[in-house]
């Protein structure tokens, strides 16, 4: 859900961005405003145990969205949701090492 921009919040975020850019040195091009619009949030945080599987809108290692397995240390692979066709430009890439 979109929310109106708050000038105070904007100022704080730009300040944070400027501080970050100043610490990163060469190559830094700064950061931009971010609003929650377009980001699915459910208020849950990541866990290390694989619990929380199936929580919509969040993800964590061991609990891929839709996963039903909690066997994070056993001898069988955890269930994996289907991978979807792309809906946008690539943000990162997997490649052989």
């Amino acid at each position: 859900m979109s929310t109106p921009r708050n000038p105070l919040s904007l100022a704080r975020r730009w300040t944070a961005g400027a501080l970050l850019a100043s610490t990163l040195g060469a190559g830094a091009v700064g950061v931009h405003l971010a609003q929650d619009q377009g980001i699915a949030t459910a208020g849950a945080s990541a866990s290390t145990s694989g619990s929380g599987a199936g929580t919509s809108g969040t993800s964590s290692p061991g609990s891929a969205a839709g996963s039903s397995s909690s066997d994070s240390s056993g001898s069988s692979f955890s269930a994996v949701p289907r991978v979807s066709p792309a809906t946008g430009s690539a943000q990162s890439s997997t490649s052989g090492s």
Binding site: L20, G38, S75
Partner: protein, 337 residues
């Protein structure tokens, strides 16, 4: 300290992500944060763990814990009290071995060295001649040093005491799983301590945590030359790719790559140029993709039986295979395959 390059991208109306790329442990890494203000802290968390990982498991650092364990002589077994990072990395490697019924085995270090990979890859290539960056069918061949794979069941790890015992002379190679473990661990730490969502890409092993972008994370499958072969959308899955075409060198005129078949002690036959798998974690995705390379022609059935969405690119070209749960190449209109 290597340079950190940052960038930002618009992923929706008034929605931006911030990303950073940097090198460590001999490869390139990529972090994305959905809340740009968290990027600096995220980079610090990632680099701290990678630094610890390098000190623990690098085969190419004489002062690493792996090297110290391999140097022990005298008794029948080599033992050591190890760091938390070493213990956790070894635990991940042993779980990978269990998951794959030993197709991915952390005790192949001696065999990897015997195949010529005994130093940083640039050094190996400079010594042995031109590399084989273009994927070629690789077949097992004679090597000058006897091969020895003690087997993962010979490794004892007491995680509570952080005590390790291996047959003396064992060289642990945790490279197949340690990077994936680090990706998972960093992703968990980021989501536990910072707001927003994160994508952690350590040299191609990719884990995510926290908030998901509305359309998921858009992940490209890169080919040997860095070309994009397909773009897919992940909704919490991790991804990993194992390749027989990238980390290559020659030995006695024969092409070699870094994945050893522990059943033979030889470089795995390169039926697949690369295999990309999705997993609940990067460790699982990496275990599956590495095992698939070792299995060769048996890989598609093995992956399908375990419900692992995967894309398999044959060596020398030919039709790309996918398992159920992986989108057909071209379905998104973004596949070059």
């Amino acid at each position: 300290m290597t340079a950190v390059h940052t960038d930002s991208a618009r992923v929706g109306q008034n929605v931006f992500t911030a990303s950073a790329a940097f090198e460590a442990i001999g490869t390139r890494h990529h972090l994305i944060a959905t809340r740009p203000e968290t990027l600096g802290a995220a980079i610090s968390i990632a680099r701290d763990l990678l630094s610890e990982l390098d000190a623990a498991v690098s085969r190419f650092r004489p002062d690493s814990e792996v090297s110290a364990l391999a140097r022990q002589r005298g008794a029948r077994d080599a033992t050591a009290l190890v760091s938390p990072v070493f213990a956790a990395s070894l635990a991940a490697a042993l779980r990978t071995a269990r998951l794959t019924d030993g197709l991915v085995d952390p005790t192949v270090g001696g065999a990897v060295i015997a195949s010529g990979y005994d130093a940083d890859l640039a050094v190996v290539r400079a010594r042995t001649g031109p590399d084989c960056a273009t994927a070629q069918p690789t077949v097992p061949g004679p090597v000058s040093v006897p091969l020895q794979v003690p087997g993962w069941r010979s490794v004892e790890l007491d995680q509570a005491l952080r005590r390790v015992r291996v047959p003396v002379g064992t060289v642990l190679d945790l490279g197949a799983s340690a990077k994936a473990w680090a990706a998972d661990t960093i992703a968990v730490r980021l989501a536990a301590s910072l707001d927003g969502g994160f994508l952690v890409n350590l040299g191609g092993d990719l884990a995510v945590s926290g908030d998901l972008p509305a359309d998921g994370w858009q992940v490209a499958v890169e080919g040997t030359a860095g070309e994009v072969r397909q773009v897919v959308a992940g909704h919490g899955q991790a991804f990993a790719t194992s390749s027989t075409g990238r980390r290559t060198w020659t030995q006695d005129g024969r092409p070699r790559h870094h994945i050893v078949d522990p059943r033979t002690g030889h470089t795995a036959v390169a039926v697949w140029e690369q295999v990309t798998c999705a997993g609940a974690t990067a460790v699982e995705a990496n275990a599956a993709s590495t095992a698939a390379v070792v299995l060769g022609l048996e890989a598609p059935a093995w992956l399908e039986a375990r419900g692992i969405p995967a894309r398999l690119d044959p060596t020398g070209g030919g039709a790309v295979l996918t398992t159920p749960g992986w989108p057909q190449p071209g379905a998104s209109g973004r596949s070059a395959a």
